[in-house]
């Protein structure tokens, strides 16, 4: 160092100042590291992050109305929905023009399906009138108002036009409102009619059941993690196999095993009947309801609770509890005041993990849950594959994703994502 201060900056072998040369090599190392990461990062971005982001967009995207009925949408802006009167002839003319083009392109049934989510009956109305509107001539057959109402009463209903006007916006919050049992109306957001309110209840049930599953996992995992952490290494390694084997077994194998065990004629019921604990005609109903889902998922997620608890409990020194006892603490005090507080990080890590996993579970509730034990994820799958209401599915998925990400943020604060360990 003294050399450097006396004779100017220190030089590297090739004559550049040492500082500059070091900075260059550091930069080169950074670039090399980034070059190694780049292919994977691109791959994940392309095939995972973009699909998720596109799902987020789909939950608000609603261009179908304005794309299929461009002229009508413009005309509708002049119509006052509050007046209670039917729109004027210009709108009907514009609508007929749009519909003829839409029928030509076979788009009108899609629009009908879309609007049917908001008001039942729309789908059949579009399908039926589509066939007849096709025969109208855009120029010659004017005026259209009477004709359209002749074709289907619905076109003479103010409500129909209100619905179209409400959902003509290209970006809508309609799906999100639907996802929380509300709907978009001309008067703003309103709650759905009583008989259609199922999603809030489903969200509530998902949360409640995830909490129950997490709770029972804590109850079951705590004793065995304690045992595993305090037994000699050789024995605990052997017992660990009993935890790891279910962990490594295929999820479907475990689910089918539970289906076999929980059935009315299944192993558990047969054994109980044989032992005489349960009468033959009063077999326990433990499948296709919430109990079935809770039992099976507690079993499936238990290893995720045991592993973090075990690794935390292993680090608690035995000397602490001995010291407490030697100072006169009872067993309970020792456990409650000394051991338990030190094991809380394990409980926290395990329960957040289990909660996150259970809140998005699909397979097990679908198979053992029946209709009463299903989660919100089953509803998402239903909307994707059966009812084809993809916008609502995307909105539900977005809400679930937000909840999970929030929980992960908490998990990161408590445990740190870097500390995730496997096996």
């Amino acid at each position: 160092m003294t050399d450097a201060t006396q004779s100017g900056p220190m030089l590297a072998a090739d004559g550049t100042p040492l500082k500059k040369s070091l900075a260059r090599s550091l930069r080169r190392r950074k670039l090399r590291a980034l070059a190694l990461i780049a292919p994977l990062l691109l791959f994940v971005l392309l095939s995972f992050v973009i699909p998720i982001v596109s799902m987020l967009f789909r939950s608000v995207e609603n261009s179908i109305v304005s794309e299929t009925l461009p002229l009508t949408v413009i005309e509708l802006q002049h119509w006052d929905a509050e007046s209670g009167e039917l729109p004027d002839e210009a709108l009907y003319a514009a609508f007929t023009k749009d519909m003829v083009a839409a029928v030509e392109a076979k788009q009108h049934t899609r629009l009908g399906t879309r609007l049917n989510y908001e008001q039942t009956g729309m789908s059949s109305m579009f399908r039926k009138s589509g066939r007849q509107i096709k025969r109208l001539d855009v120029e010659a057959d004017a005026p259209f108002k009477e004709k359209l109402i002749d074709i289907h009463d619905g076109w003479g209903d103010v409500e129909t036009w209100k619905v179209i006007k409400t959902h003509a916006v290209p970006i809508t919050n309609g799906y999100f409102l639907n996802a929380v049992d509300m709907r978009r109306t001309p008067e703003g957001a309103q709650s759905q009619p009583e008989d259609k309110q199922i999603l809030i209840k489903l969200f509530g049930r998902t949360l409640f059941m995830s909490l129950v599953i997490t709770g029972s996992c804590i109850l079951l995992a705590y004793p065995i993690s304690y045992l595993l952490a305090n037994l000699p290494m050789r024995v605990s390694n052997l017992l660990m196999i009993l935890v790891l084997l279910p962990f490594w077994t295929s999820l479907l194998v475990r689910t089918s095993a539970w289906k076999v065990m929980l059935q009315q004629q299944g192993v558990i019921n047969e054994t109980l009947v044989w032992l005489g604990l349960v009468a033959d005609d009063a077999r326990l109903v433990i499948i296709n309801n919430q109990i079935g889902t809770i039992i099976a998922m507690t079993h499936i997620l238990l290893p995720f609770m045991v592993l973090p608890m075990y690794s935390v409990m292993q680090t608690i020194p035995e000397t602490y509890t001995r010291a407490a006892k030697s100072m006169g603490a009872t067993n309970w005090t020792t456990f409650w005041r000394i051991y338990f507080p030190q094991s809380i990080p394990g409980i926290g890590a395990g329960s957040i993990l289990v909660f996150i996993l259970s809140i998005g579970y699909y397979i097990t509730p679908e198979i053992v849950g029946g209709t009463k034990g299903v989660f919100i994820s089953n509803r998402i799958a239903y909307h994707i594959s059966s009812s084809l209401n993809w916008g609502l599915a995307a909105a539900l998925g977005t809400i679930l994703l937000a909840v999970v990400l929030l929980l992960y943020w908490v998990y990161d604060k408590i445990v740190g994502i870097d500390n995730v360990k496997l096996g």
Partner: protein
């Protein structure tokens, strides 16, 4: 005791059993006073009683119960239950100790029973999902391999099995090769934005599968339409590409996590030494770094493989019928036409996972030994 319960009066059975056992214990302790003889008498007596009452199965149960009761009587009488414990514990503490052990035992039973139940049921000769009387009598008639035969001859099962064997390895190769490179890059010092990158890379593990599946469903159907429509690719082939890519992404976090964990203990001066002796970066990687981190890479690969092999939600949404994998077939089997062939498949998969578990455990030990950490 169990016999009494079997006749429909559980409480009475337990009381009679307890009285019998107390009597037995009194006889042994005061009259016989020879543990070995007493033990054999109980075992054989209970076994014979079982044989008389209910055949071979009951005899086995009887033998086990006899062994347990004999052990239990002397265990209580001689105070053997205190032998391994600290001498100053009070009676209640000892009782608590054993109650705790029994609870833990019950939880372990809960963990392992579903898997154990599936194994014998898969050899069922009937198309039932429960133990038939023949099976309980250990009658060879009650067992058969017909569900396994069904699995190996049924086209549907074979096709799905083949699909799984095509998709999982390719997805694993993609995620391992890209993942290992990235893990090496991540483990170097001075990576800008390390936490953010790590967060993105392990996000496929964080996001619930149903959400990934939803997102991929929308996106990959667009991609598929593009590949088929614009590039004119074969529909079947495009389907495989979609599923393989989706599975590769899902496997990546596992590779990243295991390989970075292995690299934590990696001595960077080894690569510097190799470079010093004139090896290029590629040669250094394959000759020095790769052999040392290989256990981590392989166990990451196994995780990725099992993720893909076991995955059903994403393939259900992204794939079409011709990409039906084994879990998918099981899932539809469980939901619709429930057939006991599923149990045969389940058994095969359990054996498979035992093999995988053993491999991973051996690799972990090897890796710890290589890195000079204390062998457990």
């Amino acid at each position: 005791m169990f016999v009494g319960a079997g006749q429909g009066s559980a409480l009475l059975g337990i009381v009679i059993g307890a009285v019998l056992m107390a009597g037995l214990a009194w006889v042994y302790i005061t009259v016989l006073d020879n543990e070995r003889i007493a033990r054999w008498i109980t075992i054989l007596g209970m076994g014979a009683a079982g044989l008389l009452l209910g055949g071979i199965t009951a005899m086995i149960v009887g033998l086990l119960a006899g062994w347990f009761f004999a052990f239990f009587i002397f265990w209580l009488y001689e105070g053997r239950y205190r032998r391994k414990l600290l001498p100053y514990l009070t009676g209640r503490q000892v009782l608590w100790h054993y109650a705790f052990r029994v609870t833990c035992g019950a939880i372990f039973v809960f963990l392992i029973t579903p898997i154990l139940v599936v194994l014998p049921l898969s050899f069922n000769a009937q198309d039932f999902f429960t133990f038939t009387p023949e099976m309980l009598r250990l009658d060879p008639e009650g067992y058969s391999l017909k569900h396994y035969r069904d699995f190996f001859t049924n086209n549907e099962w074979q096709r799905s099995f083949k699909n799984s064997l095509i998709i999982a390895p390719i997805a694993t190769v993609i995620s391992v090769s890209l993942g290992t490179l990235a893990a090496i890059g991540l483990s170097q010092s001075h990576v800008p934005g390390r936490r953010a990158i790590m967060g993105i890379l392990i996000s496929p593990m964080i996001v619930p599968l149903i959400i990934s599946a939803t997102g991929m469903f929308f996106f990959y159907s667009d991609i598929g339409r593009f590949l088929e429509g614009t590039l004119g690719m074969d529909k079947n082939f495009v389907g495989y590409i979609k599923v393989v890519l989706a599975h590769a992404v899902l496997g990546i976090p596992f590779v990243i996590i295991t390989v970075t964990a292995t690299l934590v203990g990696f001595d960077q001066s080894l690569t510097r030494a190799a470079a010093n002796m004139g090896a290029g970066p590629v040669r250094t990687f394959f000759k020095i770094q790769m052999p040392l981190i290989l256990p981590g890479v392989i166990s990451g690969g196994l995780f990725a493989f099992i993720t893909s092999f076991d995955e059903v939600v994403v393939v259900l949404f992204v794939g079409s019928a011709s990409q039906k994998t084994l879990p998918w077939q099981m899932f539809t089997g469980l939901r619709e036409q429930i057939s006991p062939t599923i149990l045969a498949v389940a058994t095969i998969l359990v054996v498979f996972s035992i093999a995988l578990l053993t491999t991973v455990e051996l690799l972990r030990r090897r890796s710890e030994r290589l890195r000079g950490l204390s062998p457990a």
